[in-house]
Symmetry: C2
Subunit: 335 residues, 2 copies
């Protein structure tokens, strides 16, 4: 299994990306990695980590795409960037299964759309991050921001893609799929939701359980939520933001009184666990579903462990079973 | 100041509604209330509370609109319901300034739209709940679910209405208005957001500070967020849902070990305060802005104190200054 890691563009790149790569290699014996970016800097990181194996290839790419670059311009003009070089290799070379990047989101979507083919029948790729639920499980959200204007058939595609992803990468047997809406009744929402509802209901390849109100996202009652990229983006970022702000507030309040500090000392292990539980880095990157090859977008703030988890996701996605399942489901709705 | 309280339709009605009414009367000496609903039941509640004042009038309405009723049918057919009677009186009687209801949301919007006139220039009324921010302030969200399909000028109207509301009811001097978007850059989002951005920027009557990502809602950097009703609904319910789920998880984890229970005992007062801080009942109902008269929609689960706060909101909204400010701002953009 060969995967490319774009080593530049994230806040902690290249060190986090190179270290994450080395961690992933330790875990998977049949994995080899191509690292794109400034060769000297990547080499220095590998030396720092005393990596002596032969499963790493460096492809020199001196340029970096940043969040300030306009995606379409960046893809066209920054051909020597670590991201564009990685995407072009992913497209060209048959034996490369997937790509992990912590670089600019807009540029990555554009590059993937322009350079990498889509699965036959899929109109637009969609992001699918996962969040932890309160009963110890996970929930996938598709789409979380790739497409702000969508059509009912795209919601159906997202349900098919997301279900296959959760089955094959997370081992969820029969993912319960819900549609994000402003109420649970079938007639709720705008025209998009009203048209999509019966289409989702009629699809045999997924287990559609109805509408979900956003307050139930973490309840554990759903495995996958499909939504347009705008409200999906709001859903994911509000959840992450609220959790972070509440933790910050708790911490501040604990420090306000000695007796609270004392109490918190007894609960130190628990608070550490809560913090880890809410650390979205632990749940991997946002995969871009619908492309012919695997693309995983890690958080810009990814540390080495987060990058390692992203590579792990790409590894599990690229087994082939997921793609086969998606093709079969799409063939069925075409009939 | 005369306000109507619809005493039926909420989970704890009529007792919570009648008790909330009595609490509000104690606070405002110049307030009188009209309570609509089953007369005998309301009287029994007033007796239970030993209310002996003369500032309450009961208008008998034996029927109740529930969440199961189709809004348009309910408004047309359930003319003897506590909600419809209240709305008709609000429209007809000049001296009644506002209405508080904990009944079905859909029916209330429909009744308000059909029966109560809109402020001249406003196309659709919009909900504006407030949430607490982590620095001890509040943030208003307009719209949170009245209109799922909207136009750029409606976003501008919501900014004007919400600003006037926050100024006059919460004393926010110059509310910082943001537009909910999937990124902070001015060119982010769909056509709706791209068209609305320069319109908001050009309006002198509001202090538009740019786009806001949903993760910053509770940061305290914004006083008002304008959005379409779909994503606004997701924003509010995700925030409430995440906070509730996290508190539940904390509680469960505390009970899992004796040492944690001990620690939590020392922090009991703090945890009680956090719980109160996150209790959205403390922040009042969702006002329906844009109507000629004041309408406050309390949560269906409102207790007496929550109803009292809703009446208090209606009291402060109905002073007249808010409406004058809105009219002036609308006149300016018409020029």
């Amino acid at each position: 299994m060969k995967i490319i890691v774009d080593c530049f563009g994230g806040d902690k790149s290249p060190s986090a990306n190179v270290e994450g790569a080395v961690l992933a290699l330790k875990e998977h014996n049949d994995l080899s990695l191509i690292l794109t970016g400034d060769e000297a800097l990547i080499k220095a990181e590998l030396d720092r980590l005393s990596y002596g194996g032969d499963r790493v290839e460096i492809v020199h790419a001196p340029d970096v795409i940043t969040g300030e670059d306009k995606p379409t311009d960046a893809i066209r003009l920054k051909r020597e960037s670590s991201m564009v070089k990685a995407v072009i290799m992913l497209k060209k070379e048959q034996d490369i299964a997937g790509l992990v990047s912590t670089g600019a989101t807009g540029a990555l979507i554009t590059a993937a759309t322009v350079r990498i083919g889509r699965i036959r029948g899929i109109r637009r790729p969609a992001f699918c991050p996962v969040l932890p639920t309160m009963n110890g499980g996970i929930v996938g959200i598709c789409d979380s921001g790739a497409n702000v204007d969508i059509t009912p058939d795209m919601l159906l595609h997202q349900a098919i893609l997301g279900s296959a992803y959760l089955k094959n990468v997370y081992g969820v047997k029969s993912p319960r799929v819900a549609m994000l809406n402003i109420g649970t009744e079938s007639e709720k929402g705008d025209d998009l939701r009203k048209t999509a509802y019966p289409m989702l209901k009629a699809c045999d390849s997924i287990d559609f359980v109805g509408n979900m109100e956003s307050r139930d996202l973490l309840s554990g009652k759903y495995d996958l939520v499909v939504c347009d990229g705008f409200s999906g983006n709001v859903l994911v970022k509000t959840t992450e933001g609220t959790a972070l702000e509440l933790l910050k507030k708790l911490k501040k309040d604990i420090y306000s009184k000695t007796v609270y500090k004392l109490g918190a000392l007894l609960m130190k292990k628990m608070f550490m666990e809560e913090k880890e539980f809410m650390n979205y880095h632990n749940y991997g990157g946002s995969v871009l579903l619908g492309c012919e090859k695997t693309i995983v977008k890690g958080h810009g703030s990814s540390d080495a462990n987060a990058v390692k988890i992203c590579i792990d996701q790409a590894y599990r996605m690229s087994s082939g079973a997921m793609y086969k399942e998606v093709e079969e489901a799409l063939a069925k709705i075409d009939q």
